[in-house]
């Protein structure tokens, strides 16, 4: 029996790891940062190819949503983590075994690797058997694992491992230090000295005290005295040590291939969920978007830039969430408003959400519907580049031409302050031309611009504005809204704000 893949409903859709890399728009959207942060510390699993591979069917996306939703059960998640952690430890043991010189040492490490593997597989199979799983991926893996633990190969490995471990644990011995050497014999139930002392002074105890035990440094190698003692112990327990001797030869290469693949692929989900966790704790929302390829109605509520959120929450600050909703024939969001008001972030969010959606991940926001696009194009102007104005404008046009040449009605186009290196009149003219093209394609687009006229281009365009605090226009809210908000405050209303009026106060005070 075989197990396909926890990442793909049809594993054959996945094309060779080696071909995949970052798409052009990664840097503009800070997706490179997101993926680096998500996969950090997991190099051994080589996860990036999975993040570079957009899925092209709603069924494949659904397959991942199912697995991810199963993993949102805290217990399953912990169990999977514990399983993969054990697999990692097991691999470390195999490496260590081969690095040691002494035969009883090497074999003890190999035996431990076997023990850890058996334990990892057994615990996980036991746990999965009773877990309420829903995803196709986990259901298939559970079935596979249940069969595997019943197999002869595995049961034999387990029995032999257990016996030798138990025998070694029972091999207790005594060392008596004499002036010029030592003697070794079996342990004969002598009493522990420290308990007596402890008992006598216990009465003074007021609470926990410092632990004075010294952590002795530990390394896997042994010195000649330790080797001598171990050899004596092997002579005291000859049968145990001869069993240990033959264990490795009896059990070469015990790791199952499908289990090993699962161990790698499941990291895709774990990595993303781990990345989500601190943001969720900070009150940010994630949701499973409805991803459609037959309707261009898209929306997201309480969305945010995942890269920025990761940075800000890490620094202990908070992030402002934003909504968008394109209905019916609306296709293009034109974002205008004061500088540093969160326009670029809003734009990135829009595109990031779509990319995350097509790799089957949850997206920032409390509810989302997104479009299964064929291609994603970004054009972010780089305003610092003032040296070569003519070159810059040309470059802009060249790149836009490239985009318009490849885009289809199923593409997403993101424009961020283009045509800044020319006069307003020129920019307006060029922008309108480009806008005509885009609306003709009927592509989804977000466009940040200072040209207010673009916001009133037509029925397909929707105007959104970055806002400021009304009383203090210097202060940004980082809210991007379809229409600006208002607010005002007076002397006694301050008391209301603090909930210190008669009614609120009576409500507040505990009895």
């Amino acid at each position: 029996m075989s197990f396909p893949s926890i990442l793909f409903a049809r594993p054959e859709v996945f094309i060779n790891d080696q071909q995949l890399g970052e798409a052009d728009f990664f840097a503009d959207l800070n997706l490179d940062q997101i993926i680096a942060a998500v996969t950090a510390g997991r190099d051994e699993y080589n996860l990036k190819p999975f993040f570079y591979f957009p899925l092209n069917s709603t069924d494949e996306i659904e397959y991942r949503h199912e697995v991810m939703q199963d993993l949102e059960s805290a217990t399953l998640f912990e169990q999977v983590k514990s399983f993969t952690q054990k697999m990692r430890t097991m691999r470390e043991h195999l490496v260590q075994a081969d690095a040691l010189g002494h035969k009883y040492q090497e074999k003890a490490w190999y035996l431990d690797a076997g023990e850890i593997y058996c334990d990892a597989v057994n615990c996980f199979a036991d746990y999965l058997a009773y877990e309420a799983l829903k995803s196709r991926g986990f259901l298939a893996f559970r079935k596979y694992l249940a069969n595997y633990v019943q197999s002869d190969g595995f049961t034999l490995l387990l029995a032999e491992t257990k016996k030798i471990k138990a025998d070694l644990a029972a091999a207790k011995y005594c060392v008596f230090l004499t002036g010029d050497g030592f003697k070794v014999r079996k342990y004969e139930s002598e009493s522990d000295y420290s308990t007596d002392v402890e008992e006598t002074f216990k009465k003074f105890k007021q609470g926990a005290v410092k632990d004075y035990r010294i952590e002795f440094p530990w390394w896997p190698q042994m010195n000649h005295i330790e080797v001598k003692i171990l050899d004596f112990v092997a002579r005291l327990y000859p049968e145990t040590f001869s069993n240990l001797d033959s264990y490795r030869a009896n059990n070469g290469n015990f790791v199952d291939e499908a289990i090993s693949a699962f161990d790698r692929e499941i990291q895709f989900y774990i990595a993303f969920l781990d990345h989500m966790a601190p943001l969720k704790r900070a009150g940010l929302k994630f949701c499973y978007p409805r991803v459609a390829n037959d309707s261009k109605e898209v929306y997201d509520y309480d969305g945010y830039d995942l890269a920025l959120a990761h940075k800000l929450i890490g620094e202990g600050s908070s992030i402002v969430c934003n909504d968008f909703h394109l209905r019916d024939g609306e296709r293009v969001i034109v974002v205008t408003g004061p500088n540093q008001g969160g326009k670029t972030t809003f734009t990135r969010t829009f595109a990031q959400l779509h990319y995350l959606a097509v790799i089957g991940c949850p997206v920032p926001g409390k509810e989302a519907r997104l479009f299964l696009f064929d291609k994603l194009f970004t054009h972010f102007g780089r305003e610092e580049d003032v040296k070569n104005q003519r070159g810059k404008l040309e470059d802009d046009l060249f790149r836009i031409n490239g985009i318009l040449g490849q885009a289809t009605s199923n593409s997403i186009i993101v424009m961020n302050e283009i045509f800044t290196s020319t006069t307003l009149q020129d920019a307006m003219f060029l922008s309108k031309k480009v806008m005509e093209k885009i609306t003709e394609f009927d592509s989804l687009c977000v466009w940040v611009t200072f040209i207010d006229e673009l916001a009133f281009f037509g029925e397909q365009t929707v105007s959104m504005v970055s806002t400021v605090v009304p009383e203090n226009p210097a202060q940004r809210t980082f809210k991007i809204v379809r229409r600006p908000a208002e607010g005002r405050s007076y002397a006694i209303s301050i008391a209301e704000q603090f909930r210190l009026t008669y009614e609120s106060l009576k409500e507040r005070i505990q009895s």
């Binding site: 003890a108 207790k172 005594c174 000295y193 002074f201 001598k228 005070i509």
Partner: protein
């Protein structure tokens, strides 16, 4: 072994959280002066005074428990101070002897030395109990001395001496071990090696179980180092237990210090008040729901400690009153009165004597203060917003049967707005069973309450003689539209004000 001098059945918890408003309380009631009088430059006494005064007891029984112990202390001040000094000396001795090391054999040596010192000090402590127990009447001290005599008997001391000899390991080191990771030795445990030599021989000749031995060559320096490392591993657990035992005894002395320090602080304070001829009495605490408040000669203890002349006390008989509105002349003793109310309440609920001729009131759930503050230097919020924000914090924490002392709150806006805010807040508080003392110049607020003839409100006014002099006493009186600021104006700027307008 517990002393239970601060509470009947539990230790005083130094780590216990103080009320969230402790900073405001300390500042507004001028408590640092009180704490310093109790501490006399001793850091530990200072901390203890602060913690004990700020973490109030909540029922009359536990207050009386401390009062009785404190009465014993006032009767036997030098014995109490001697015990305290012995305790402090023990703690300091150990700090001098102790050194940090990474070798269990050294830890063990150092710990055994410390144990010897402690045993001597414990003997002395026991002698105090033998000699002076009969001079103390309180339940707390009786239990304390009985505990010392019972736990530290002669047989116990004999047993300790024996351990101190054995812990020098005169017969060598015997330890057991198990096979750990990679078959390296783990779980070293030291065993008594009493007759190890004989039984080794016995085993070699008499038994099946073999013994293997190894001699280290005299030139094998690494081997010798490994052996001494092995010895340290073997001693690790026992050294830990012995060192922890000295920690236990240390913690016992530290606990004693904590339990006694508050009373030493009270002794210090009492001596200073006596010197100044300022009265102190043990208050009569009533239950939290009894709406009692009567006192005679209540004065601001911190003011008394910081000036040479005698301070004026106030009398009050305000049982059944939940709201006290204080108005009247500037510099007429209103803030002082407000502080003395807060101080006496805190001191009573710490089990102390209070600065008055007599004093009786119910225990409260918490004391809160809302005093005027300096303008916020960070310019973050306006003055009114700052005041309301502090009120907001108070509202989060205050409960029924708490006391709230307002000193000129909500004055930093138009009189009408300030009065309205003050009225709404005050009414809500009083209806929620909170006792409110409000010093105010907001005439509309004060007089509005006066006109409403609330049965549970009382109105005090700082006394001003017709010639403008202040008596610093508060008398019953209707709020007036003036606080006689002009008096001050005339006193401070007489020439200007004398000029014809």
């Amino acid at each position: 072994m517990k002393a239970f001098l601060m509470h009947k059945d539990q230790d005083f918890d130094l780590e216990r959280e103080l009320p969230p408003n402790e900073q405001a309380l300390t500042q507004d009631l001028a408590l640092p002066i009180l704490f310093e009088a109790m501490a006399l430059d001793d850091q530990f006494l200072l901390e203890m005074a602060r913690k004990a005064v700020l973490s109030s007891l909540s029922d009359p029984d536990s207050i009386l428990y401390r009062q009785n112990i404190l009465k014993d202390c006032l009767k036997n001040p030098s014995i109490v101070r001697d015990i305290y000094n012995l305790v402090v000396e023990s703690i300091e001795n150990r700090q001098k002897q102790w050194w940090a090391t990474r070798y269990p054999s050294t830890i063990m040596f150092s710990a055994v030395e410390a144990l010897k010192m402690f045993v001597d000090q414990l003997r002395k402590l026991r002698t105090f109990a033998d000699q002076h127990a009969d001079k103390f009447d309180s339940e707390g001290f009786a239990k304390f001395f009985t505990m010392l005599v019972a736990e530290l008997d002669d047989e116990y001391f004999t047993r300790i001496e024996e351990y101190l000899r054995e812990l020098k390991l005169p017969r060598g080191v015997l330890m057991s071990a198990e096979l750990g990771k990679g078959n390296k030795a783990v779980n070293f445990v030291l065993h008594k090696a009493r007759d190890e030599k004989q039984s080794w021989l016995g085993r070699i000749f008499g038994r099946q179980s073999p013994v293997y031995s190894y001699r280290i060559s005299p030139r094998d320096e690494i081997g010798a180092r490994v052996m001494s490392d092995l010895r340290d591993r073997g001693l690790n657990l026992v050294a830990n237990v012995v060192a922890q035992s000295t920690d236990h005894i240390l913690s016992f002395f530290q606990m004693l210090r904590t339990e006694l320090a508050f009373y030493v602080g009270c002794l210090n304070l009492h001596e200073q008040l006596i010197q100044k001829g300022a009265p102190a009495c043990f208050p009569v605490p009533a239950g939290p729901t009894e709406r009692k408040r009567s006192f005679y000669g209540l004065y601001d203890v911190c003011l008394a400690l910081s000036v040479t002349q005698k301070v004026v006390g106030n009398d009050m008989n305000a049982d059944q009153n939940d709201l006290v509105i204080i108005t009247g002349a500037n510099q007429g003793g209103k803030s002082t009165f407000l502080r003395s109310i807060g101080q006496a309440q805190l001191m009573m609920q710490a089990g102390m004597f209070v600065p008055a001729e007599s004093f009786s009131t119910g225990v409260c759930n918490g004391i809160f203060t809302h005093f005027r503050r300096e303008e916020d230097a960070t310019m973050k919020s306006g003055k009114l917003a700052e005041e309301l924000s502090r009120m907001n914090d108070i509202a989060d924490n205050i409960r029924q049967n708490s006391i709230l002392l307002f000193n000129e709150a909500f004055a930093s806006t138009y009189e009408r707005d300030g009065s309205e805010i003050a009225r709404q807040i005050t009414m809500a508080l009083v209806e929620k069973g909170i006792r409110v003392f409000f010093v105010t110049h907001l005439y509309e607020f004060a007089h509005g309450l006066f006109d409403s003839k609330m049965r549970n409100a009382i109105f005090l006014r700082a006394e001003r003689r017709p010639d403008g002099t202040r008596t610093f006493r508060l008398i019953d009186g209707e709020p007036l539209p003036t606080s006689y600021g002009e008096d001050l104006y005339q006193r401070i700027l007489p020439d200007v004000s004398a000029m014809p307008t």
